[in-house]
Symmetry: C2
Subunit: 519 residues, 2 copies
């Protein structure tokens, strides 16, 4: 029996720490697994070793393990060496390039969902998925295994429409306009969205400043059936929970295995019983989908997979080579979306994209004639019905029912980046904009982000504003200004990108107060 | 500035823990990297998050980070977000299936050696090496990068001979016989050996009970030049240190990427300036090399790689389908080797293999005519010169110069596993024997292990001993007895392997005192 000492460190893995003498005695090495058991429960945890943090007979229990077993400091547990989960063999099988059976895939997803795999094993899974891929049969089985790993929301009102953007293009606030248009047209669209992982903000991050996005499955059902639309955080309800764990494992490696991406998207849709799904595939440099060839492959595979799952999928390949609209960052994007809903002066790209995509859904739902959807979407937007529907959704999710764009508070501190030359905007680098928005504090600082004043092809005069930075943190604003000068995310035709003086090869910074150095 | 709190947990990664509010404020997530700096030094560490273990403004510093930076509790450090090491891009490039340049490979090895990669990134590296492999040019660059990552031992006495077994076959104590034979014949063989990772024992584990195996590079040089031979632990001297780190990363995944295995072996040899190398490739079921085809591929590639590195390599494919000799476990193997050196009744397989391999080295060194090496080795062994040389080596490494097989203490507690039927031994499962030896306490318990009484093809009477278990721990002996009954590592022709009664599908155990259950 070992005496429990709680270790308050967050971990995705189920971890325990053993005194090195105890571990030696049991022949246990770091990264081995042990079975920890109380009278009532047990689980398998990964071992770390310490020489002096614990006395012999003590065991350090990370809080996730303590939570699962209901342990507190001083409790006694049994510890025994144990085997690896069976699913590791199947990961190895995939590493060896073999096709996995349905049962093998289910075993892997089950162990992922139950946190039975270590970070290292998750990394091996993600790496294997990236390098060996999966065929369509395996992908469909993976999708269903992920769906079955969590809650499935079923509706009495039918049919269920859904929309999803594959992502990778900043400023893509169109969901906030599409959902109310579609709901205002009488279709039901229970939209679950994600939070940012490496982007500036996800739809859930944006909407969180306006209404409650953490809803139960019952809430999602009730609000959708009553109002026709909802905008919830997918992670707040237990749908396809394996997905979140896998995404967290992909994050440190910054890889996005193809079959996993497709399965993850579709699992979240199948789990809300979607029957008609429109997918937005933003394509262009510095997005997830750089070429049209790849965009078409995604579209084909999403449609195929949809067929296997009983979901009618249509895809729209959209232009993602620069942000949609001008605003990047949660509050700034919310404000831009509300300006569009209010009939104000919203950027053309936001209006065009929202109405075109909403129009496809209206045609899929049979409420618009083929070829008439986009016009109908425009009419709904113009009529103020979409705004009214949005306010109903906001109210149902606990927000201010009279909200307008003017109520949305953006970052307190601002800084304008001006052009030092005259010329046409030649390129806008999505990834650099996202880095700057994150440096400003997005998505955690709801008011942080940036607004572009000039987009591709526009003429910029010397001294004219290129973009404006927003933050609620002065220090972050200062750091982001330096980063913006270093990255130069907007380039003009004929501009000198970098000038390296002969006496010193150092990146230029336009300020002398601080020098940005890289480790 | 953050106040340091030392975290005494062993970690291969450079880890720190941040309070969640501090991390949020800096926009840092779990698994991100931060730069920790004092006035004098800095390094990049991986972030873990805690809510209550640390106050705001405190930072938990794992002891390896503290050691690198010379930190103690209460010291103040600066913390800033920082980029990932460049080499992660090159790992990604390999994941994408591309050939790596020499500089890219050196960057990866440098970051591995300096502990700049997280466990997750190391897992991705190992996975990429496993799935994408490397061509011979990359493998040679990898080998040299590993050599240059550590100390290189150079000798004034030339030429330098070396021997290595690829491993995977239990009971392979031949190094302890080959080294003294070769040295007694006047050749110099500075042998560095490994410890067990998942096997029952490495040569370093065996020899550790007899002499000191942790020698400096200077010791290895001095003893080898004076006596002609040394048996040191490779991990005790800083040769190719990247290798140990990579092996530790392979351990949790239990994968052994081909190019990495070849490069690791050759890097350790190049680092001791080997000019002539004999490689033992044990082949057979439940070894690392199950087929002759694969054994030949290994041989070809080792010879090729040797040519690129300036090492003359010869390979011997040996039979590894059952243990070499009868003993498995450190002390038991040491005893069997000393019995052979003393001219006592050693198993034929031990004598045959040792003399055949030593003979090849004698021929490579030109001290024996081609075709005469094995006989010369036998003569040296028979003459007692090998024993005398071994005792010189033991003495030079601080052991008892008069040691004999009778002085070697094996496990105090023993148990004989007897056959319940009569028949010929049909199969001996290497992996099962290793599991049992480890359950008995090997390699940490020097006296633990097992001795086979019957090998393949021999007739066994009902009630006759199949093998004997040894341990210094009574509880471990009991557990291992249960495991042995469950695994049945030795099977006889015509024997019922498992009988599943219709009323209950449970593995048979021959004892009723305890039931072995799997989690």
């Amino acid at each position: 029996m070992y005496k429990v000492k709680i270790i308050d460190v967050e971990s995705g893995e189920l971890l325990i720490i053993m005194n090195d003498k105890d571990a030696n005695e049991m022949g246990i090495n770091r990264h081995d697994r042990v079975r920890i058991s109380t009278n009532k429960k047990f689980l398998a945890a990964i071992v770390q070793i310490s020489k002096t943090m614990l006395k012999e007979g003590e065991i350090g229990v990370y809080k996730n393990v303590a939570h699962e077993l209901g342990l507190k400091d001083g409790d006694m547990v049994q510890v025994a060496a144990t085997e690896k989960p069976k699913s590791i063999e199947f990961i190895k099988k995939k590493m060896d390039g073999h096709e996995l059976t349905k049962d093998e895939i289910r075993a892997i997803v089950k162990d992922i969902t139950e946190h039975n795999l270590s970070d290292i094993e998750m990394s091996a899974y993600v790496s294997a998925m990236y390098m060996r891929e999966m065929n369509m049969r395996e992908t469909a089985d993976l999708t269903m295994a992920m769906v079955e790993s969590g809650e499935i929301i079923e509706f009495d009102r039918k049919p269920v429409f859904d929309f999803h953007s594959v992502g990778g293009c900043p400023g893509n606030k169109v969901t906030l306009i599409i959902v109310p248009i579609v709901a205002a047209a009488g279709l039901m669209i229970p939209k679950t969205s994600s939070r940012a992982i490496s982007s500036a903000c996800g739809t859930a991050d944006i909407f969180e400043g306006i209404a409650n996005v953490i809803l139960s499955g019952a809430d999602i059902k009730r609000i959708s059936e009553q109002i026709g639309g909802v905008i919830a955080w997918g992670g707040g309800v237990n749908i396809a929970p394996a997905d979140d764990i896998i995404i967290r494992a992909e994050y440190p490696l910054r890889i996005d295995p193809y079959a996993q991406l497709i399965a993850s998207v579709m699992a979240k849709k199948k789990a809300v019983s979607a029957e008609y799904l429109l997918l937005d595939i933003p394509m262009g440099p510095n997005t997830k989908v750089p070429t049209e060839e790849l965009a078409r492959k995604y579209a084909r595979d999403f449609i195929d997979l949809g067929q296997k799952l009983g979901i009618k999928v249509e895809c729209a390949i959209t232009y993602g080579g620069q942000p949609v609209g001008r605003a990047v960052g949660p509050a700034l994007e919310a404000r831009e979306a509300f300006v569009a809903l209010e009939g104000g002066e919203a950027p053309n790209s936001v209006l065009e994209k929202s109405c075109a995509l909403a129009g496809i859904l209206l045609e899929m739902g049979g409420v618009a004639q083929i070829g008439q959807g986009k016009q109908m979407a425009r009419d709904i937007l113009k009529s103020g019905k979409a705004l009214a529907k949005m306010r109903q959704i906001v109210e149902a999710q606990g927000g201010n029912p009279n909200i307008s764009s003017k109520d949305i508070k953006v970052g307190e501190y601002t800084h304008e980046i001006v052009s030092t030359v005259e010329g046409y905007v030649d390129n806008i680098n999505n990834k650099d904009l996202v880095r700057i928005a994150r440096a400003l504090g997005a998505p955690k600082d709801w008011g942080a982000g940036l607004v572009l004043n000039k987009k591709k092809g526009r003429l910029v005069a010397k001294g004219e504003v290129l973009f404006t930075l927003y933050s609620n943190n002065k220090k972050k604003l200062e750091d982001a200004v330096l980063l913006a000068h270093k990255l130069q995310p907007i380039t003009l035709e004929g501009m000198v990108i970098e000038h390296i003086p002969s006496y010193h090869a150092m990146p230029i910074t336009t300020t002398t107060t601080n020098v940005v150095k890289r480790l």
